[in-house]
Symmetry: C2
Subunit: 299 residues, 2 copies
């Protein structure tokens, strides 16, 4: 039996990871500073930014496996916040405690923000690591420390570079929830021209990919994405049609941010061929899921 | 007037950095867990591995400049110690406090161990960063975090990649002091064949280079070395001759460690051309300095 410690367990991805782990029969120890609404798993209430939190939690859970997702969720304007240093530091502490307590296998959440953006398809093997933000640098540096530590201590570590996640309970500032909120309120939804291509993956698929990674012995960085690029325009227009209000989508009403890359697509041969994982939620189905979770419009 | 916070102030390099700063008229705030034998500078007694130490020290010193040298000194067998994680973490905490308190310019000690070893001359511009040890990885990752943070906050940071330091008060396990100890005891000094070439720099020169870097606005990594390679054999034979006991040097008595590179030499155009620094202690003079500091043989 695996005793799996999941951090960020009440976050966008974490709650689905907990579900997927429980479905797989694992003993789940969930860490969150917020209450967990389930009695199916052990809840360790802790704020990992507190210096002693990791020691206390790891000492209580004695995990064999670690799925580390917690990180102050980066949003527009927070990519360069000093808060990223705190999460980097807290992650090192957590890793050190997990390692010292004899934990064996870990999967840690990284980000496509670790890569240099420019080429459309980003590969673990060939794309340079040149993060443009403090968030990306803190994640990238964390991987370097953890991989070297795992190598020295004979531990097993996969580093999940997660691309563009969407799903219910997402942060309202992000693209899909912000457009959905406008649509359900019956208000115009101003967006950019939307020609940028991104790699979207529904949060349930992200969760099954992370749990599959945990159960494998794949080492090092693994992109977690669909492998397919979709134009932002197609996503928001689909949302407009599904909400029955396509006229509310105002393409081109917002300027594209400086340096916004044309395409960010995951190369997924490690995830799909080596690991044998494949996504199960189509984009239409996934967007319908987000719409269904949104507050209906008051007409 | 600069208020300079120096960590590791009682270490091999730190004590000479304090001297060089005082000679330059700076207000020196020295951090060390060990007592400082000088009343010329303010001593902040602290163990930076304690969670609150950095906050307390930075709050008391309010430094305009930071020279961060402290790190559990890596020795043979400790390159992969988990202790390196603690120093990485402590360094992040120190940086965060320095940054939050409005500190402007920092010089942080890195290492030639951050580079991939193989090519004889290692360059900040072209040599891949592929550390073979946890020590090298923790230093390399620290630079990545600090540079991104400095960029985001508009601070100024130079990263000193220090090569092979020698001088009085060095750790007895290291090459020069271990050979000197044997020679002054009148005992045979077994060494390897000694054909490996290294870039040695006397600790007083390391100190003046770091202080010169602090006073400049050079950003990013800067190799700190002499730029010249010397065979280990030439160093130890010189020591034998200077001690009057050349016959005690036993070349080839020890095997070379696996993977020991043939040459590790600093490319020093940033240090010497951009910064305009040059070394002042010749190898013979420097070795004489070490011999003079050693306990004389009891015959």
């Amino acid at each position: 039996l695996n005793r799996v410690l999941v951090t960020g367990a009440t976050g966008l991805i974490g709650r689905h990871v907990v579900d997927a782990l429980l479905a797989g029969g694992h003993e789940v120890h969930a860490v969150s500073s917020r209450a967990i609404d389930s009695n199916r798993c052990r809840w360790h209430r802790a704020d990992l930014l507190e210096p002693d939190a990791a020691r206390t939690v790891v000492g209580a859970a004695r995990p064999t496996h670690l799925l580390h997702l917690a990180w102050g969720m980066p949003r527009v304007g927070l990519w360069n916040s000093p808060e990223n240093l705190n999460w980097h530091e807290a992650s090192i502490r957590l890793w050190r405690e997990f390692s010292a307590s004899g934990g064996g296998r870990a999967v840690v959440a990284g980000s496509c923000a670790e890569y240099e953006w420019g080429e459309p398809v980003l590969s673990e093997r060939s794309t340079p690591l040149r993060p443009a933000t403090l968030y990306g640098s803190c994640k990238d540096a964390l991987r370097r420390v953890l991989e070297a530590s795992a190598r020295a201590a004979g531990q097993s570590l996969a580093w999940a570079r997660i691309f563009f996640v969407y799903g219910p309970n997402d942060h309202p500032d992000r693209l899909v929830p912000s457009v959905v909120a406008r649509l359900t309120a019956g208000e115009p939804a101003p967006v950019t021209e939307g020609t940028q291509v991104r790699d979207f993956l529904h949060v349930r698929d992200v969760a099954t990919a992370l749990v599959a990674l945990m159960g494998s012995d794949i080492q090092g960085p693994v992109n977690v994405g669909s492998g397919e690029g979709v134009a932002i325009r197609d996503v928001v227009q689909e949302l407009g049609r599904m909400a029955g209000r396509p006229e509310l989508i105002e393409l081109g009403a917002l300027p594209r941010p400086d340096g916004d890359p044309d395409a960010i697509i995951a190369e997924v041969s490690r995830l799909c061929d080596e690991l044998g994982w494949s996504p199960s939620v189509g984009l239409r189905e996934g967007l319908a899921d987000v719409l269904a979770g949104a507050r209906p419009a008051v007409r």
